[in-house]
Every structure is written in structure tokens, then in C-alpha cells.
Symmetry: C2
Subunit: 242 residues, 2 copies
Amino acid sequence: MVVQMRDSITAIGPCGTCAQCLHCEARSRSICSVIDPEHMSLLDQYSHRLVITSGKTFIQEGEAASDFFIVTSGHAKLFALMPDGRRQITGFAQSGNFLGLASGATYAFSAEALGPLSLCRFSRTGLSTLRREFPKLENRLMEEASCELVQAQKSMLLLGRKTARERLASFLLEQHQRSLTKARVTQLPMSRTDIADYLGLTIETVSRTLNALQREKLISIAQVTQITLNDLPALEILARGG
Amino acid sequence: MVVQMRDSITAIGPCGTCAQCLHCEARSRSICSVIDPEHMSLLDQYSHRLVITSGKTFIQEGEAASDFFIVTSGHAKLFALMPDGRRQITGFAQSGNFLGLASGATYAFSAEALGPLSLCRFSRTGLSTLRREFPKLENRLMEEASCELVQAQKSMLLLGRKTARERLASFLLEQHQRSLTKARVTQLPMSRTDIADYLGLTIETVSRTLNALQREKLISIAQVTQITLNDLPALEILARGG
DNA sequence: ACGCTATCTTGATATGGATCAAGGCACGTC
DNA sequence: GACGTGCCTTGATCCATATCAAGATAGCGT
């Protein structure tokens, strides 16, 4: 059962027989991991799969916050805009991440697909029902909120007090940690412009600083989006500022 | 029942007969507002009153996050430090505010009293018990976390993309809104250094920018800590950046 | 009231990162 | 394989804010 919505958003709706949640590639990393496989059907009932094309905005700042999302594959960027176009990316989301906590009645941020993206959508009321049904979800959601708050405070320190070099080192280490691999090669899903808007810098400064770090042998830039961290300890010292 | 702890922290412990929570000056503004007066005694049982002297650090970044706090009177600043002393204040807390959500196993921030401060302390386990006992608390805590996340995203935009003038205008409006009065005179509980560390600026820039806003008649600085917002619409336009 | 100290303001100068302006490179199209 | 078209890099210059350096104020204790 596939339903076409608007121009580029495809909804693959609930389906009693195919039990999607059970085989969800993001389940172990998402809030759904607290729900036993035997109750998966209720999860299926209140969730909908979406596929989003690259570059599409699927959450619009200021609109009624009626849905929550879990990223099941791909990457997204979350951002806030100023009237003159200045942009601050407040975070990147990947498989398993829960989106929508930073909202009151309306969304406090916009979200856009960084490449092809699949999502799982919950309506506000649907999630409420699930929370009542599975008290463990409450704890998991609070955990999720706590992690986001901790991350937000790190970003505030970075944006308010770190130099460009320290910001790039922090960013590269964060990306490396999120990649979940031990390999020191990190594949970046975002452009230089996105990195700049995440770190509160300009694209030129990002480019210059990355190349400076490469000249100092701290990193190697194989391709634009593929960076090797050659000296993790040195990068960590740089990132934390001494 | 008054228990003296360390040098300057006074604990006024649970007391079966005086029913403190019922008369708590912060109750209507705190998470406790969701609990009926008839159940107040359970709240008393799991909470402890503390009085903190000005300047004392009562939450230390990196220490085991064993307690949560509610500010019952006074103001506190929350901050993160870098090894060389650079500081980012991530928020200010006042009566009713809940502290401790931005924590995993350890606190992600430090907190210090801005002037005399009273707190209500909950142990992690005590709060867990209360959450089980009063499901409404879950919703209220999630609300609290959402508000903090929204606020954090606003701070990220401010720190990453706004000019000094825009930051000061945003700050003054935020303080004005928090004061809960309609009067256009705002009494600031924090020093210029704190404002600078909150806005990612230096104390000199804060001073110069405030005086520039005064010269332009947007504000009046009666005393250092007492500022009148003369032109709210203009300040709002400035704060949002056009 | 006096002086001590911390905080704030103001001025002069420096600088990290922004802005302006060309190139270079990769990738897709015809 | 030439030609676009979007990134990305590199260079030259500028400027908003930091830094350095005095003063000015305001509490506060004696």
C-alpha cells in the first residue's frame, strides 16, 4: 500500500500483514527499542513510513507541531532561519534519531533531507496513546530529551566561545563518534555550507581551516566529503580548547 | 528541623507537620503544579529545601547527577567551562525552573547562585517514585524539557548568527518577558560579565552596546542593573534581525 | 566621610574571521 | 570532448568585536 502525497513525499501506510516495525532498520537505535516484539503491531498501527527526496523540507518552523518523526535511514539537517536568510543549523539527525521534541504548539525549527531520507511518522495523539500503553516509552523519551539538551549545551559552548579551529576539530570528532565505526575515515553527509551554518562560520573559513588542519597533518581530506582523522588525541585537545 | 551541611548550605528537611510544599511560593510555576493539594504530603516526603549563599556552586559539571532541583526563590546561572577558563552561560534559572534535565550519568553543566537562593531538591530515585505515582508529572517534565530545547535552539541561533546589537536586544526582551510584569523596567539579577558569558561577547562589548542602545533611545539605564525598554517594537525588530 | 575593591565604562589598537573577488574542480549534458 | 553549473578553494581586503589600558562609579567596611 503506497500513497502518493504532494509532489515528492511517498507514504507507505500501515499494513496489517507486513509488520514493518519488526523489521525496521532503525529500531535498535530508536525509542522503539523499549517495546517488546510481541507488541510491535500496535506500533505499526500508530506509525507511518515516509520517503523524502533530497533537499525537501519536511518540518517547517512555525507550523503546528502535529507530528513526531524518527529517521529510519539517511540524514537530515535541523535549522532556524532569520528574516534576511542567515541560517543556524542546530543539529543533524541520522538513523534512530527522534525529531520533534523541540516544539511547543508549533515547531521551533525546520528540517530538510540531506540526500534521500526515510522517516517514520507518529501523530501527536498516536504517540500519546503509545506513551500511555508503554510506560517505558516515557523514560526513553526523557532520555532522548536529556541527550539533546546535553548536546545543545555543547553547541552553545562551541558557538559562544570556541575558535574556528576548535569548532572544526569538535565537529569532526562529533561526526566520527556518530559514525559508530572505529575507522578513522569519516564520510560527511553535508556540504561545506551546512558545516559553516552548523558551526557559526562562513564557508570560506571552514574551507581554509580544514585545509590548515590538513597541512598540520591532523587530518587528511581524500575527497571533499571524506576526511581521515590522523591524530585523534591532538584533535581532542584542540576541540576542548587545551 | 534545620540541618547544617558543609559551610554554607542549609537543609530544611522533610517535616510531617508543616506541609511545606503546600505553601511553596514556586509551586504554581513548577512541575509540582500538576499535583493535587491532597497529595502534597508525598511531595514533602521526597523533597528537601535548601538555602544557598550567593556565589555558591551547587551543581558541578561532571559530577554524578544524583539530584534534581527546583528553584523556589532567587536566581541561578548555569554554565560550562573550558580548561583555560573560557565560560559559556547556557541559561539563567528563576523561581519554578526545574534543573537537571541536561544530564546523563553526570551533570553536563555547573550551576551557581546569583544572590541568595532557595532550592527544592529531589533525589533521582525520589523523583522516579513520584513519576510512577503521578503520571501527570511525566507530561509536565516533557513539557519542561521541550521548553528548554526550544530555548536552547534560540540561543544557538543567537550565538551562531546574531550581531552584538541583536544579541543584547534579544537578551533584554527575554529578561523582560521572564520578569512576568508589564512594566518596561527590568531589574537584571546578573553582572555584565554574566551577560557577556551568556551572549558570547566580552564585557566591554556588552557595556558599549548597551550604551549605544541608550544613546539611540531604545533603552534607558537608570542603574547598572535597572534597564527600561523604551521602544519594544523596535527592539523586537532588532532582536529578530530585520 | 574615607579609602578599598570590585565592577563598569571608555578609549586606543589589534585581529580573527567576514566579505569581496577570482579561479579551480568535479560531474552531468549534449 | 567542449560547455555548463554547482560546489569548493584561494587570495586580498575589511570590519566587528576582542584585547589592552586607563579611568569612573558604586558598594562597603571602618
